[in-house]
Symmetry: C2
Subunit: 449 residues, 2 copies
């Protein structure tokens, strides 16, 4: 059955989720003797690490989106389906989509995580998170409307609230958002208004524990905070958000309670597994962690189902570090897991095996703002301009691999010739579903209530 | 009062509308001894001639939008206000915005036109027009969802309806949309699907009179139709749309009634003046034409109010051609009118006058598709690849002038250095208001019911 060298129909690999994990799995199976079906709710892969750039007007949504069909166009063994998986039958080896049913031989689940509000879901509309293109455009709208409103506002107190920007969560996403907002207010918009001085805008970054960028070594957290403060960001660590009402954030620092008037509150804290985790665990009894992520075996399968894999942010892989700490929810982990599963399958077809998955950590990157970033290569940690250059290079590199960004950017005017159309994302779908790719921040950020 | 060489507050010019007319007027007043206030509902100027590219996934919305504040940032005598004019008091020389009141010495109204449905407004949600960024993103969503639905659809008849694209109106917008859709289906998407052959998609262009591109000379209309047919577009002229229901267009050709099943119906016909025309005419008694456009004097003022100008698409200028035919609703007319009014004001300040406005027609351009366009320079008319090159050059040229496109495209990666953020448009505002800039098509297209 696993051997495609006979007359049986080819082994069918169904991949759910077109983020880094799912896409890399599909690409690595290009030459394998299998039929691949990639299912995603959206018709595009989102380069989520640059989503904060869309939220701050630096890039267009189309610039960081790649149509899944275009990326996999030349993979003749691969079909892309736009749809949402509603159920799994591991015994029958079937999955149900909203409008059809599919049989699989191997199932790879890579639907990622989305942000959440620790049981305060009512905060969602007041403090949008940054997971989907729609989130980013919503945040962009709020940010730029805030400056427009301030320009018109004559009451100094109300104007102040329009110029207060509060970001909850000091992980990479929060740090990058805060840095970009500070640049926007203090540089980009400086000369654009007549009644207000945008450099008076206050960008407040709140973090629950005692330092920003919790995933990073303390010395880099300190450097990151210093760079943020150079940019004009007010960083408050060990600060918990206890309430969010319209235009008002209540925070607690030790015993101090403070209320901050703000018209623009952004949420970069909190992570929960996508619904697929629950569906899968219900159907298979696979164990989940507190956030709902599926705890996987050393080979990324789930117990009792060697033909079901979970990869990317949705997977909790506790086998690498002594303390059982799961691998971080970053793109490189998802990519390597996707490639590992593809290679494992190829081995299986030959009746061979593969050692347990091991994440090669090439280091972490976070950008703080113009010319500033922090880099942790393990053997060396540094920050500043060189770090920023590396950050830029790495991101451009991965964008190029997805055939948009630089290429699309330079060649836009020639897309009649190249026949490329890089901006094929479908947005504003009813109740725009979260696109589920990795999130670099959040779940280490204990914003409690 | 018109002389700013004394201690009186500077002459205040209020411009309503940030399209080509309003923006060019503001830019031409940069050195004038006046205070300028530019009011627009949106915070960006939209390069509307390329909007069809956004609707077909060729460009991102941000690529053809320029933040008004950025464009006018260095115009220290100019303030940009985001707002909507609800009333005009020509006696008091005041205008009312939704949330404030402004006095003016000179008023320039350039709010353009939007499409309409000849009294069948219920067609609007079934057959969206192409005037705003939101329109374009809506059309893009419909177009690409149609292919996704067809890929899943097993019933051949339903699949056919998903692959039928109907465009109503054979003006430049309709022609450009049809050409781009044909390329999309027959080239761009060719290898992206597994169950359907996108080249079987049918692009149907309907035009009420006997030829496409009514503004152009008949020989170019014939060439345009031939090029469209080469691209695989089915062109039906002398065809009137009599009804649009869900997934069904009813057309009449002579005595023939036909019903066409289609899931994607696009509206490129019909033009009506923006509400500002009605407001102005109510307040001043200025005459309007059937479409609601304000019929202006030879100097672009309205009768009895030498300090109120109407320019761009909203203006009906009947003084140039013997037959009293108004100037076409195209960007160059709006630009020249904006510059004329600025120059007229500068003359007035010196107590001088300016001869009546005269539109210098440098020719018309319309693109049909890859490598094909038609050009009418008056003294010479031609089509094909050279015409397409000229079309591309002209559009890139004007985009560059607005400091986005090429520049932003090549330099996106460097926008930390350049401090530019080219994608600051605010979209998805509640009931996204139509951005009112010129529309190149439509009102010569007698789609009757």
């Amino acid at each position: 059955m696993l051997n495609a060298a006979n007359n049986q129909p080819p082994h069918h690999v169904v991949i759910v989720g077109g983020g880094f994990g799912g896409l890399y799995a599909a690409q690595s199976l290009r030459k394998a003797p299998v039929k691949v079906t990639l299912i995603d709710k959206r018709n595009f892969h989102l380069f989520q690490p640059l989503l904060y750039q869309v939220a701050t007007g630096g890039l267009s949504a189309g610039d960081i989106s790649s149509p899944l069909r275009a990326v996999l166009s030349r993979h003749k063994n691969t079909q892309v389906l736009m749809g949402e998986v509603t159920d799994v039958d591991p015994k029958q080896k079937k999955i149900r989509l909203n409008d059809q049913e599919l049989s699989y031989d191997t199932l790879i689940v890579a639907t990622g995580v989305s942000h959440h509000y620790f049981g305060n879901e009512q905060w969602a509309e007041k403090a949008p998170g940054l997971k989907t293109v729609e989130n980013a455009l919503d945040i962009r709208r709020r940010v730029f409307l805030a400056f427009e409103a301030a320009e018109k506002e004559t009451d100094p107190e109300k104007r102040r609230a329009w110029l207060n920007f509060v970001i909850v969560g000091g992980g990479p996403t929060g740090v990058e958002l805060a840095g970009a907002l500070a640049e926007l207010a203090h540089n980009t918009l400086k000369d654009d208004f007549r009644s207000i001085d945008t450099s008076e805008a206050k960008i407040l970054l709140l973090e629950g524990i005692d330092r920003v960028l919790p995933p990073y070594p303390p010395e880099l957290s300190a450097k990151a905070q210093a760079s943020l403060e150079d940019l004009g960001v007010t960083v408050q660590t060990s600060t918990l958000v206890t309430n969010i009402e319209d235009n008002l954030v209540t925070i607690r620092r030790g015993d101090q309670i403070e209320q901050i008037p703000s018209q623009t509150i952004l949420w970069a804290a909190g992570m929960k597994a996508s619904k697929m985790g629950e569906i899968l665990s219900k159907a298979t009894g696979a164990p989940c962690d507190r956030a709902g992520r599926v705890i996987v075996q050393p080979d990324l399968t789930i117990p009792d189902y060697p033909n079901i894999f979970v990869i990317g942010d949705l997977a909790n892989f506790p086998h690498q570090y002594e303390d059982g700490k799961p691998l971080p929810g970053v793109a490189p982990v998802a990519m390597q897991e996707g490639q590992y599963v593809a290679n494992l399958l190829k081995k299986r077809f030959k009746g061979e095996t593969l050692p347990a998955f091991h994440y090669k950590d090439y280091g972490s990157l976070a950008v703080i703002g113009r010319h500033a970033a922090v880099v942790d290569f393990g053997f060396i940690k540094f920050s500043g301009f060189l770090a920023w250059l590396i950050w830029t290079f790495v991101h451009i590199f991965f964008l190029i691999e997805f055939d948009n960004k630089i290429l699309v950017m330079i060649q836009w005017g020639w897309n009649y010739f190249t026949r490329k159309r890089g901006a094929r994302l479908i947005t504003n779908q009813d109740a725009a579903p979260p696109i589920e790719v990795e999130d670099q921040s959040n779940y280490r950020t204990p914003v409690k209530v």
